[in-house]
Symmetry: C2
Subunit: 266 residues, 2 copies
């Protein structure tokens, strides 16, 4: 699931991560449509292949989040949607609904933070507090190319402080077993240190020194999406590739369990 | 006056425009302070010299604008402040208050639009509609370095369409007399075509090809504040320098007149 203000680069990131054009014909919403806080929940499914394994990827977009003048009601529809998927799974597990159902639970939620501003906004804090007990939360700074390296370092520090101060628990990559090889340990460490991921992504190809790369062309230089010096894109992607199983397990054994317990005690 | 979400680069632009450190010790507001919509109106004055003329510059910042979850009340304090300055001037003119009063009316309002998103947000439209009959409104895209040149062109078009569709009147540089020299005509034309100004500014010096320039250093290149290919900063600055008198006159003969008429008919 992707949550965050419109225009933060959410669909571009998803397309770039999964090579697909999930959001090919993105229609820009007219401003009038955003006058009251109307969050739409839009699941879009696509079949992808990762390391020879076929997967059905469903991305749930949340257009309208944070766009209105009064945003007091834009978190509730998102929480309801997440709970509904747990509800469907519970019915399936308890035999109430035996028609074959794909697991539609949300295994991972990218929460996009704006690079404009000084860290988490009040809405971000409220939203993350509502989400962190329901889904694996991965905070992302969108359009991080608006920030210099020093500003990214400072902003990440500030955001992590605010996350801690508000008791928000985000998805953490489990530590390596000590018998893993050094390269893998190094990779895991750099992923853990990068949170929140400062991402800049692009599906466009630009010419750089005679070859074509995914990136953004500015008058003052070319930002390469897959250059770890320019963007945390590769770190985020490698997290998804190496920890897709763990994301599913934590969803099932922690967040879904919380939901089941809550239903049983009702 | 500068109006816009926090972190859009307003104080950096003001400092860069007037070489001063009006906002030297900028304290980053804690998120808790922003929970309800509390807009503070903060006038800061400094003496500057432009073309050998000493001026008292007062910048009115509006921290807290747009930062809360519910922003339905953040426009009113700004409008009240503008009206209060007209009120003070009216008293002075009508002899009700003869102690010497500097003209504290707002001659120019920079309205900052975010480069994240697809154009004007509902709050932007509401704010500009409230402001345009009260002050000279100059729309600015802040942190425009998050956008490629094509994105800037598209965004400017979209914003101007939305401004027109909503009947918002922005400050327009008057046309040149036909007997002006060609260079000046060219300069005026490029200022008029640049609206809304896509600005990227910096007070930091970075090293570029052996000399020091005002700019921002990214891993993929150096953005020069005063390079017209990189930022509309120079165009905005030249508008202020060449049209300071016109901004004052329009404020006095149009906006202040509207206020006076409204007071007389009350
Ligand atoms: N500066 C910058 N712009 C981006 C980035 N990713 C996407 N964009 C641009 O931002 C605009 C909106 O992107 P989109 O992915 O549709 O945003 P969404 O509304 O959050 O889904 C498009 O013009 C993109 O080209 C990024 O990482 N950095
Ligand atoms: N990308 C970018 N960042 C900027 C620009 N101007 C200022 N900043 C940075 O944005 C942050 C907030 O700037 P500031 O001027 O204090 O924003 P304000 O809250 O609107 O007054 C600082 O870290 C600045 O260095 C700009 O034009 N582009």
């Amino acid at each position: 699931m992707v949550v965050g203000d419109s225009g933060l680069g959410k669909s571009t990131l998803i397309n770039a991560l999964f090579y697909s054009q999930l959001y090919k014909d993105r229609k820009i919403p007219a401003v009038q449509d955003l006058n009251e806080s109307t969050v739409k929940i839009k699941p879009v499914s696509v079949d992808i292949e990762e390391k020879g394994v076929k997967l059905k990827l469903t991305v749930v977009d949340t257009p309208g989040f944070g766009d209105a003048i009064d945003n007091t009601t834009c978190i509730r529809p998102i929480i309801n949607y997440i709970d509904e998927q747990y509800g469907k799974f519970l019915e399936y597990e308890s035999g109430l609904n035996r028609k074959h159902i794909a697991d539609s639970r949300i295994h991972c939620c990218f929460y996009f933070i704006s690079p404009v501003g000084y860290g988490l906004k009040p809405l971000d804090i409220q939203a993350m507090k509502a989400l962190h007990t329901k889904v694996n939360l991965i905070p992302i700074i969108g359009k991080a190319d608006a920030l210099t390296r020093q500003e990214i370092t400072d902003l990440k520090k500030r955001i992590m402080k605010e996350i801690e101060a508000n008791g928000i628990s985000i998805y953490t990559v489990p530590d390596c077993d000590s018998d893993e090889d050094e390269d893998y340990k190094e990779q895991i460490k750099s992923i853990k240190d990068a949170v929140p991921f400062a991402v800049s992504s692009s599906c466009d190809l630009v010419e750089l020194k005679g070859r074509k790369v995914q990136g953004r062309q500015y008058p003052w230089g070319i930002l390469e999406t897959e250059n770890p010096e320019h963007s945390d894109f590769v770190k985020l992607k490698s997290l998804l590739v190496t920890h897709m199983q763990d994301l599913r397990e934590v969803t099932h054994e922690v967040h879904y369990e919380n939901y089941r317990e809550m239903r049983l005690t009702q």
